[in-house]
Structures are given as C-alpha cells and as structure tokens.
Symmetry: C2
Subunit: 258 residues, 2 copies
C-alpha cells in the first residue's frame, strides 16, 4: 500500500523525529511504499494567501474560497499545493504526525491543511443544494483511504482523561479527526498518543515503539472510528442536525459517533 506521512516537528533529533523514522522503517519493512512530507525540512509555506495561485489579478478582492476554486479548476495552483494533492491521491493511507501545541496541531501543519485542502478538492465537492449538502463527512475526494494521527503531548494521560483539566483527548482531537480527516472522506483510525514526553528513557521509548509498530502493522485491520456519514439518513438536511430518532438523548461531539 502507499502511505503518506506528514510530519511537523522542527528538530529531527526530537522524539517526534525518532517516531517518524521508526514509522517509515516499520512500514517499508512490511512492504509498503512511504512518502514523507517533512514540513519543516520542506520549508512549507504555512500561510494561505494571494500567492497560492499563479494567475491572480492584483486588482481584485481576494476570496480564500473562490480563489482556491478558480486555481484548482484552472490548474493554476502554486506547485507546492498541487504536489501535496498528488501525494494524497496516490496514498492509500495518510498519517499526520505532530506534537500537540496549545491543544491543536502546529501552525505549519494547519497551514498545510488550509492550502492543500482546496475548494473542489477537499470541500465544495458534489452537489450543494438544500437536499444534498456536498459529498463530505464520509464521502468526497479522499473516500476509501485511511487516516491516523500520531500525537505527542507534554501533559499526563490523566490531564487528558474524561475529567482531566485539558479536556478529553478524543474531544481535543475531534476537530481534526472529524473536521479535517473524515470531512473529505477518510476513514479515521483511533489516534496513537504519547503523553508526558519530557519523561522519556530508552526502556519507555522501546515500549512506545512496540505499541506504535503494532498499530502500523494493523493499519488495514483496525476498525475506524464510526463517525456518522452525513448523507446516509442520520441528519436532517439542510439543517444538518441529527434526526430526532438518532441517539435522542445525546449531544456534543460524541453524538456523531455511532
């Protein structure tokens, strides 16, 4: 299988760098083909702006969505964007690997999402009407592919537990797993999270690699998070709220998991 690993850490000798190297080796050893987008090493441009297409008229108002659509449709996207889209088309699975900074992904990775996820590629796909709100949340360009997060966090696991002060890790990651990965069609596997990264020794690192290796070995066997598809009957359209008979007493992020 083809795997794209997008890696967002500035230091190759970091824990994240080591986990990236380990993952690539493990996947290649299993016979997969791996491409790595090492965003810091690539000097990835983090900021979505007027320079993201090659044919923009300077005298017009810049609309991030409409400019993205025009550039995507006319083949005038900046080359770094088109290259990452090609990698996504090529990949059978996507791994996003990053340290949790301020309870989300690093800016450089957020900027990868914003720029690569063009209108017509990752959103604005399919019919948009009051009866069909686009091919998204389970459908879309990237449907049929798998995705998984590998995340490191400085805090303790209990800080990210159901009653932990930072909020539950599944809720912190929901905007990424549901809003960024499931949205354009990926099947999303449970995340691999390493806590308390400042307390690391060789024994612990070795145990983490064993667990991560198992997850990578099982990439095509693991059951995805059962997010509810938008267009299979669970939601009223165009309100896009859960139908009254679906999990009637639930609300919040967890209600969107079957």
């Amino acid at each position: 299988m083809n795997i794209l690993l997008v890696h967002a850490h500035p230091e190759p000798q970091s824990l994240n760098g080591s986990l990236k190297d380990f993952s690539v080796k493990r996947l290649e050893k299993a016979g997969h083909v791996v491409q790595v987008s090492d965003l810091y090493a690539m000097h990835w441009k983090a900021t979505l702006d007027v320079d993201d297409s090659t044919d923009r008229r300077a005298d017009t108002r810049f609309d991030p969505s409409l400019d993205s659509r025009r550039a995507f449709e006319s083949g005038t996207q900046s080359q770094d964007i088109a290259r990452e889209q090609d990698k996504l088309r090529w990949a059978d699975a996507l791994i996003l690997q990053f340290p949790l900074w301020w309870f989300s992904m690093p800016a450089i990775l957020k900027g990868w999402v914003e720029r690569v996820y063009a209108y017509g590629f990752a959103y604005g796909v399919g019919e948009h009407s009051d009866s069909h709100w686009g091919d998204r949340y389970g459908e879309g360009t990237l449907a049929g592919k798998r995705a998984m997060l590998i995340v490191t966090a400085g805090g303790w696991e209990s800080h990210y537990g159901p009653r932990g002060i930072n909020g539950p890790i599944d809720d912190i990651l929901f905007p990424i797993q549901h809003g960024i990965l499931y949205y354009p069609g990926f099947d999303v596997l449970p995340p691999f999270v390493v806590y308390r990264t400042s307390r690391m020794d060789e024994a612990r690192f070795s145990g983490i690699c064993d667990a991560l290796g198992q997850r990578l070995d099982d990439l095509w066997k693991t059951t995805p998070i059962p997010f509810r598809p938008q267009n299979a009957g669970a939601y009223d359209i165009p309100k896009l709220t859960l139908r009254p008979d679906i999990a009637p007493d639930r609300s919040g992020f967890a209600a969107h998991i079957a």
Copy 2:
C-alpha cells in the same frame, strides 16, 4: 482601557476586515486605546523555529520549549515576538478575530500563539511541583485581563448547534477559549460568532454590527465564562482531574465550567 485586537484575514475588504474596522472605531469612540496586530498585513511569521531567538548555537538540538525559555529569560527573543508580548502586557483586553478555517483559527494566528506564548511568559509560570502545577488556568502572566473571540463561519448556526454535524461551537472553541486564553490567565467572555457568511447583505451586516457594538460596549460588564481555576480546590494535583465531589456526574469540556 487598552485593547489589543489580533486580526487574521488576508483581505482588508472581507467581512472580517469590515468587522475589524467597525470594532476599532466603536472602541475608540468609547474612549479606549486600541492597537491592532493585523497579522497578514504585518507578514507575521507563522512558523515556530530555530530563528525565533537571536543567539542560538547551530550545533545544538533545538527544543521548542527550552529554547523559548532561554530566549525569553535572556532577552534574546526575535523582536517580533517581544513586541507582541509587550502589547499583551499593555492591554487590558485582548480580542482575537478570525474566520473559522477547518474548525480552528487560521495557521497565521496559531503561529502567533505558538511564538508569542513563550515559556516563562504564557506557560512554565510559577511553581511546578506535585502540589502546584504552575500558575495557569485562571492564574498567570495575563491574569486580570479579559479576552474575547470574534469568529466568522461559513456554515449555518444549526450546523454548530448541540446536535449539529460540525459539533457545538462552544466545544469547537474550547481548545482556544480554555486552552489558549484561560490558560495564561485571561477571563474569557462568551464569543461573538457570525454564521453563514456567504449570505450577507447590508441589512444583515448592519444588524451584526449593532449586536457586536453592544458586546464591545459591554466588554467590562459581561460575565466571563466560569471556567474552573486549577489551583482553587476543584482539581486533584498532580493528576489534574476534577475532584470526585465536583460535578460528580459530568465529564468532557463542559465539566470545566462551573
């Protein structure tokens, strides 16, 4: 009062640009002093990296936290970072204004947080031990100041409701309001959110300005979101989970609101 407005949109003639201009005028008319950090206009460097301090030795391993601490303590931070920290010290209130892109803030603003929130400034403040886990979540450098989000979203309000497909807006914003604003000490006011931004005419824009103007007039009267302070007894330390007798049947983000 002194107000810092951090604005993250690439087009001055956008809805966000107009709301920024309106806010500045309204606040100045009320006698406040306003500074605007217009991140796109400033060409803000979004990516946290080795160039964020002026005295780094190229032959050492880059540690984002420890390098940030060293540079903050020794006065060798990049000047753009130090300037924003000065603005935060000067401000009585902070407004972050941005379009919701992929269910979070734009990368350029995330990078403002990552770079300006230095170790020793926004985290790593106060005693860190097994009985006191830092001055944070209600305490810290920015305690006594107020903060508020002004956010625009393309989707409908129902899509962000309790059972809306995107998840409730309060939960989507929790990592920002609690994790980025409350963490270093801000009192966080309820957000001002504009939905369905593609359907805007003069009448609707005028109504939005009226509502936003009222919120700005009430900046010092509005009751902050009652997030639970970390060090006032609600949490077991160092586990940092809610004590069993605090909201015993609740979990998730909402449990951290009294």
